[in-house]
């Protein structure tokens, strides 16, 4: 994955966020990582609302999304992204403790790229995030541009 791509992580649990960040780094992901503590924060960033930082349409992004989050949950964030013409293309990877098959079906139905369940076991959690990191750091991985090419 190109080093200019930023990884957006929506995760309300500070411990989980640190663990994800550390293990992505251990898997040689050197991209910028931005943290959002709830669903509203990441929506504000993507939809350019509110006072916080806003996304840059000339950049490329990939989103890691927790399901259970305060204010706006991950399912709603996914739904809003996939309903939006500009944001629809951004790949969204669900990374959550929720393993109910109904939720998995719903997220794929809305258009998530992948659904990962966070293992409860600490070492398995580290391994799973490192597998994700090694996948994301593949040189051949390509992401879409938010602003269509040629414009």
């Amino acid at each position: 994955m190109d080093k200019g791509i930023a990884i957006l992580i929506a995760e309300d649990d500070a411990g989980h966020f640190q663990l994800i960040k550390k293990n992505l780094w251990l898997a040689c992901v050197n991209n910028d990582i931005l943290q959002f503590k709830d669903g509203q924060q990441i929506l504000d960033f993507l939809l350019k609302t509110g006072d916080g930082p806003h996304m840059d349409e000339t950049k490329q992004y990939i989103v890691l999304l927790d399901v259970r989050m305060p204010k706006v949950d991950g399912l709603e964030v996914l739904r809003r992204m996939k309903d939006n013409d500009k944001l629809r293309k951004i790949p969204v990877i669900m990374l959550t403790t929720t393993s109910e098959s109904g939720m998995i079906e719903q997220c794929y139905g809305l258009g998530c790229s992948c659904y990962m369940v966070k293992p409860v076991d600490y070492h398995r959690f580290m391994e799973a995030v490192q597998s994700l990191g090694k996948f994301l750091s593949l040189e051949g991985l390509r992401l879409p541009s938010i602003r269509p090419s040629g414009n």
């Binding site: 790229s113 991985l141 992401l143």
Partner: protein, 146 residues
Amino acid sequence: MNKDGVILIAEQDHKHFDMMKQSLLRSGVSNKILHLADGRRTLDFLSDVTQPPDGEHKSRQYILFLDVDLPEVGGMEVLEKIKADEKLSKVPIIMLTATDDPQTIDRCYELGCSTYMVKLAENDDLEESIKKIGHFLSVVEIASIE
């Protein structure tokens, strides 16, 4: 991905398919891996699995590796048709192709591919990449088709 899940590889080149299969197996993937040699067969296969079971056990979980450059029906048309099909739209599709063109990449994401991976020129690198994809697939949950 559960053990019954099936990995489909739509790839014209038999040698590439063999290499991909070996690399996935080496990464520890124990799922069934099937080869679909063109776009038409890919669509026919998937349309067949959505038919009501006729006694024969059919898996309900599939993931598809899809080349852009396929005979009969091209990879982008296959992607478009699968994502437009109510029953099949949840099947995750990983584009794996030599085509490294920004417009094709944008279009595939617009149509709903999960990821777009470019096959780089070096075969060793490709084997290594496929193994990493295999490791990643082992921690991913897949939706069942209805």
